[in-house]
């Protein structure tokens, strides 16, 4: 017995929602549009800019001047590397906590989460000195390790909430049918766990890609990912709006696309399962 919704009301809501949505999205849209302009046109008044000539020259210049692809590859290696490493450590942990819970499982989970509450700046000095002494400053290895550690609690938690939803009875049924441990894991559990692992992976890639404390503190050039590359535009020379736009567009595009696929999982992952 759904309520009747009047057409006028639906139209009003639609118009208001589209206007607000457009305004929120506008800075991103504007950046994308500006990236297809020449430097001279990019600083023109909005209307004059829109009607000016469209070009791809900024994209070429960004790559030529600063070797954009190297920063991009660093971002890919660091975010993928730390995600895979975190999954390798977290899957067995979350698995056993979900299926063989002990008396202290809850305390353990809470403790893991509490490590996430520590502000990065509280350990900035020793991390910087250790990285310097071990020769890890400005290396991909160093960043992969740090990003793995800071995201590990979220990964364990997310996997745990997904694994918890796999019904234990299914395992018992498989055992009754004569499945051994190996086929139990391979044919029963794995297929049910894959979606959860995939969404965890997606969220973690997004978080690692956009991480902008350690990536800014611990890299300078060789291992610098896109966060650091974009930050280098904060003290620019000459006209740079179109180039900044092109670089920004390329830096956010992959994650914007991934992010739109992971809206639902985002809520669960970022609230540690408190809101589903």
């Amino acid at each position: 017995m759904a309520r009747k919704i009047t057409q006028t009301r639906k139209t009003t809501v639609t118009v208001i929602a589209w206007i607000i949505g457009f305004l929120i999205f506008f800075p991103i849209l504007w950046t994308i549009l500006m990236s297809f302009k020449s430097e001279g046109d990019a600083i023109k008044a909005p209307l004059a800019m829109l009607t000016s000539h469209w070009t791809l020259e900024s994209y070429g210049e960004v790559q030529e001047r600063s070797n954009y692809l190297r920063f991009f590859m660093n971002s890919v290696v660091i975010s993928l590397g730390s995600t895979i490493l975190a999954l390798v450590i977290a899957i067995p942990a979350a698995w056993s906590m979900a299926f063989v819970p002990g008396r202290r499982t809850k305390d353990l989970l809470m403790w893991m989460l509490s490590t996430k509450m520590m502000p990065a700046v509280g350990v900035l000095v020793p991390m910087y000195l250790m990285f310097r002494d071990f020769g890890l400053l400005d290396t991909r290895t160093g960043l992969v390790v740090v990003l793995t550690l800071i995201n590990l609690p979220i990964v364990v938690w997310m996997l745990y909430t997904y694994f918890k939803e796999i019904p234990g009875e299914i395992l018992e049924a498989a055992r009754m049918d004569g499945a051994n441990l190996r086929s139990e894991i391979l044919y029963v559990l794995t297929p049910m766990a894959v979606p959860g692992i995939a969404s965890t992976m997606l969220l973690n890639i997004i978080l690692a890609w956009n991480e902008a404390f350690w990536t800014l503190q611990l890299t300078t050039s060789d291992a610098a990912p896109l966060t650091q590359f974009i930050a280098s535009y904060s003290s620019p020379e000459g006209l740079f709006y179109a180039k900044l736009s092109a670089a920004s567009t390329m830096a956010i595009a992959p994650i914007l696309i991934l992010g739109w696929f992971s809206q639902k999982q985002l809520v669960r992952g970022l609230t540690f399962g408190a809101v589903k």
């Binding site: 607000i20 949505g21 008044a45 902008a212 650091q228 974009i230 900044l244 956010i252």
Partner: protein
Amino acid sequence: MATAHSRTAARLMVSPAVILLFLWMIVPLGMTVYFSFLRYNLLTPGTSFAGLDNYYYFLTNAAFWDALVNTITLVVGVLLITVFGGIGLALLLDQPMWGQGIVRVMVIAPFFVMPTVSALVWKNMFMNPVNGMFAHIAKALGFAPYDFLAHAPLLSIIVIVAWAWLPFSTLILLTALQSLDREQQEAAEMDGASTLSRFWYLTVPHLTRSITVVILIQTIFLLSVFAEILVTTNGGPGTASTNIPYLVYAQSLLSFDVGGGSAGGIVAVILANIVAFFLMRMIGKNLDA
């Protein structure tokens, strides 16, 4: 179904994660505590015991109190915008409309923009007093352009950070709204409850928990805003937009004062832990392990 054998296996499977996180938590933090009691500058050789001097200097420095006030202003300002904006947007997006999926995508997009990009785009393309969009609009309307980051640096940063976090609160509150019991709503309507009282007595209590989660989680992240300040104002002019993370960074990596920076780091940890204490209790209550 848990046998002694499977319990041992389970412990083995958990231990790598536990050991790593334990080391990660205890080693650097222990070092920070240790450094905070030392007279230790990277430019001068040698270290010596300083007692509580570093804490004394850090806490009595005018910059610390400025930074503390700025940190609180930043957190509260962003929370006000994102919580009220988020409730409004979630209620709006929950209504039937055409193209809901597309509006949702547009609203959520800022969350995926890396902090350095959002800060620089706002700084240059919008807030720049010469070529920014706001300056162009002001000129077109006959007003003098306003230099946002020079005259209202903290407010500008609040706007930038709030823009990035509004999608987060909207998304969580929208998820919560969608789990609202429709039948209860309809029953209340049939009993003659007005739209306003339905909102106040059914929707608001239902959202309270999610709002608390939003506030606590955002506070954890907002206490450590850094990149946005680094690329827009560098904490300036003066200390007008310096928050505690930025102050600690400036003290330890720009002035090379390891001891003082460490003391500041410990102060930041204590502040964050006050918030974390409440967040942990909240999440613990909802965990049925």
